[in-house]
Each structure stands twice: as structure tokens, then as C-alpha cells.
Symmetry: C2
Subunit: 280 residues, 2 copies
């Protein structure tokens, strides 16, 4: 199955124009045979704001129909789209990744772990207790956003819920290079999932992003990395590979089964109240 | 503080001779100023056995005094030692890493996650529900063994219990190279801990190990890697660095607090019974 990501610059400060760009890129990817195209974090709205009011002013309102051109493109071109934006949802300001399919919005992931930087300083932590995993016509897709790659529990929960492909829209500056270089590969390998990060390449209010959008296989090997190239990139994957959670080199002699061998009863501290680390 | 690891060949099939070698290396490391020396997994006994009886025959019996020369060296030289071996404990055959200090045995970690290979095929899973973290005169040390690096929950629980240095004796063949190359660095960086893996370099019953014993800093950068060199290697570390669980690049503008930002209530699936993945 072909999947794609778009390492493009948004139209800064113009969400309708960026929405149109996303719709156009989705149609182009579909014409190239892709069943999914992924855009970075905060792609539709930008990510840098000086206060909450400015963030809410720029935020996407799904109810108002802000995503309509993307929904139309997904339906007409028969493609799935993942795209990130700040979302106004009632009184809340959320950092959201939307999974859109030909049938409409399949799921929304609201970033649960917010770094104290860019607009996330002014966004709300959603009240969610469960992983963002969605069944689609092309497979079982898990969503997380950017900083959430730092939390092994996040991608683990997606995999335990059966995600075959984890999609992580990102906005990583150079200082975060360890995340695409190392964390992505380990998140894929430790969970035996495909992993797709779509990162920005533009400059947003002085912050420069580092590109390096990539697709990792369930063995942790990088299949493709876009570096700082601009464009739409398509990769062929086989999601069935992500359903095998064992490595069997010599049956009965050398086998590892990292999912079967988990000992959840010993991991309770991971899910215990976090009193210990409430440092400033 | 100086810490060391020994990338040496054991005396195959001769546990008393290997115990003597460990005691001698511990004295040498102490003379060089090291406060800790770490040896690989199954170093005292070898790791490859064809059946459980052979494994139990070769296993270390702590009650019998098999470790006495190491205990003596640790006391006389005022050094801490971590060393791995198969252990006979009552009716059980366990894969054990012992943390020994000048005052005697400080703690034992029994490998909880057993790959289906080498002697681990015939070993027992211990009934443990809690992380192997031990306070010592030189800092708070967490223990895990080899394959357990594949489980993000294992090292996470050690860090949540306050481990500053995670010590992981290993017996990795070339096929497992992703573990020292990528997993070690991410385990250190995601938990902001020092990470020391001591791997074998010898050949044991046809299985060749890949060395690459190493020390990683809490930022995920490798401080030293021994490659395939034989010897005792000493590294200077500052455990205070492992007590800071945040990255603050620009106060109030760019801060990340990956421990404070954890959302344990959303990780319950990590600690839930593992019905889903009981595949063969």
C-alpha cells in the first residue's frame, strides 16, 4: 500500500489558503496511488502564538466547516488525510491531529502531553483516558503528536490497542533532532509498528523546523527520510508486517516474543499517580 | 565519579576461575579509582545450555558461598560490582544480576522477561512485582538484564523509582545490534538516566557476542563504547545530572518537563492484563 507525506510550507497566516493547499496535495497524492497523506503538526494554523487569544483567533473551528475542502478532496479522491492544527472546541484550545477519510472525519487526536513552548503554552490538556487508535479501510492507525514521542507509554498504548501504523505529525526544531533520529526508530521497533513522522520545514515566528519527515518499518529500519527536501513523498508499505510481534530466527532455539513476554503486573508504577516528579 | 565495566572473556566452564577473575578485575578497577565495575550477563556461568539440568548443574549457589571471593574483593577494595550468572535458588533456575557492595550483597535482580533462547529457555520467571532499584553509597542504581531493554516499561519503572544509573548486563549477538546502537540511547534519554550496558565479547557454545559495551549520558549521547576491545574501561560520570528531568532552553518560552508531563491515568493499558497478544 502506498502512503505519502507532504513536506511543504503552509501559507503563513492564511488558514483557508493552507486548507486549499492540503486539499490539492491530497488529490495529487491520490492520483499517484497513495491511500494516505500526512501533514505536520499545526500545519493549518501555524504553531507560534504570543497569547491564548491570538491562538484561539487563528484556531480551526470544525463545526464552522473550516475543513470542508479537505473533506471534499478525501471523498472525491478516495484518500485518507492526517493534518494538524490548533482547534477551537467550545471554550477549549486544543492541539489536534485529524484523521479524515473518504467517509469524513474518522477521528481526532488531541495532544495530551504539552511542552511548555510555542502555542502549546496556551493550549488545554484534553480529558482523555485512552489511546487514539482508529480502524480505517486501509488499516488500524494510531495518532500522536510531536512531543508525545518522548513518552514510551503513548506509542505503547497505541500498539497495544492494535495500531499497525503510528502517525505522528511534528514540529521539531534542530534542537530536537534526537527525536526523529533515534526515538522514531525505537518507537517503531519496540512496538513492531510502522511509524510515520511528518515534520515542518518552514520558519514560523522565528522558529526553524528541521524536516526529516520519515517512514520507519516495524524492524526499526528507516524506509525513507525526506531531509530538507520540499515535496510530496510516497512510500510503499505492507501493514501485515506490523501484525507480527515476534522475531523467530531459529524456531525452538532463538525466538523473542516481546509482546507475549510483557509482564503488565510489574508495570503498575507506570500508571500510578505521578506524585514523585511534580518538580518545577 | 568513576565507574567501569569489564569487557573480558570468562573462563569457559570454570565458574570458580571466573569468580576469581571478577574479583581480580574489581580490585584493579578500584585501584584505578572506580567505585563500580560491571560485568556481562551470565558471565560467571556461561549462558548456553542444552537442558535445564545442565543449567542447574552450572548455576551459582549464593548460599553455598560461590560469590565469596567477589564479596571479599568488594569489601577490601571498597568497590561495587554488578555481575550476571544463572542462579540456583531452591528449586528455581534464575537469570540473575547481583549488585554487591563493600557491605555485601545489596540486591539481586532476577530477569523477569525471558527470551526463548540460550539458557533462558530453561530458566524460571521470578514472581516479582516491582522495580529492582537499590540505594547505595554511590547513588541509586537500577538493574535490568539484556532482553529487558526491549520493554520500555522496565527502564521506565526503574527511573520512576528514582534510579540515577541503570545497569544492564547483556549477552547480545550481532543480530541484536539495534539494542546497543539505538535502544540504549533512547532508554537513557527518555528517562534522563545514565545507562551502562556491559556485553560479552566471547563465543559461547557457537554464539558470538558483539561487545559494544557502553555508557550513555542522560541526554542520550554515548560517552564511551568499547567496540570489540578487551579490557577494563573507566568512565567519569556525574549522577546529579540524572536528577534533572527537564530540558529548559529558554525559561518561560521553551521548556520541556517529560516527567511532570506524564499522564499516568492514560497509561492503564500498559499495566492491564495482556490478553490481546498471547500469540504463539
Amino acid at each position: 500500500m502506498k502512503i505519502a507525506f507532504a513536506q511543504l510550507s503552509p501559507v503563513h497566516g492564511d488558514t483557508p489558503a493552507t486548507v486549499a493547499l492540503v486539499a490539492e496535495a491530497a488529490r495529487a497524492a491520490a492520483a499517484d496511488g497513495a491511500r494516505l497523506i500526512v501533514f505536520p503538526e499545526c500545519f493549518l494554523t501555524g504553531g507560534s502564538f504570543d497569547d491564548r487569544a491570538a491562538l484561539l483567533q487563528a484556531a480551526v473551528d470544525i463545526e464552522r466547516g473550516d475543513l470542508a475542502p479537505i473533506l471534499l478532496a478525501a471523498r472525491e479522491a478516495d484518500i485518507h488525510v492526517v493534518v494538524g492544527f490548533y482547534q477551537k472546541s467550545g471554550p477549549q484550545a486544543l492541539n489536534t491531529a485529524a484523521l479524515i477519510g473518504p467517509e469524513g472525519i474518522i477521528g481526532l487526536h488531541h495532544k495530551m502531553h504539552l511542552p511548555f513552548m510555542i502555542g502549546d503554552r496556551f493550549a488545554d490538556i484534553p480529558q482523555i483516558e485512552g489511546p487514539s487508535v482508529f480502524d480505517t479501510a486501509i488499516g488500524r492507525i494510531g495518532l500522536a503528536i510531536c512531543y508525545e514521542i518522548r513518552f514510551p507509554e503513548v506509542i505503547r498504548t497505541l500498539a497495544l490497542e492494535g495500531a499497525e501504523l503510528v502517525v505522528l505529525p511534528a514540529a521539531w526544531p534542530e534542537a530536537a533532532r534526537i527525536l526523529p533520529d533515534l526515538f522514531s526508530r525505537v518507537r517503531a521497533a519496540e512496538n513492531f509498528v510502522y511509524f510515520l513522522s511528518s515534520n515542518r520545514i518552514d520558519v514560523d515566528d522565528g522558529m526553524a523546523f528541521m524536516g526529516s519527515s520519515h517512514v520507519i518499518g516495524p524492524d526499526g529500519n528507516e524506509i525513507f527520510n525526506a531531509g530538507m527536501q520540499e515535496g510530496i513523498f510516497t512510500v510503499d508499505i505492507d501493514l501485515a508486517r506490523a501484525r507480527t510481534k515476534s522475531i523467530i530466527r531459529d524456531p525452538g532455539v532463538y525466538e523473542v516474543h516481546p509482546f507475549r513476554d510483557r509482564r503488565p503486573q510489574d508495570y503498575r508504577i507506570c500508571a500510578a499517580p505521578a506524585a514523585l516528579w511534580l518538580e518545577a
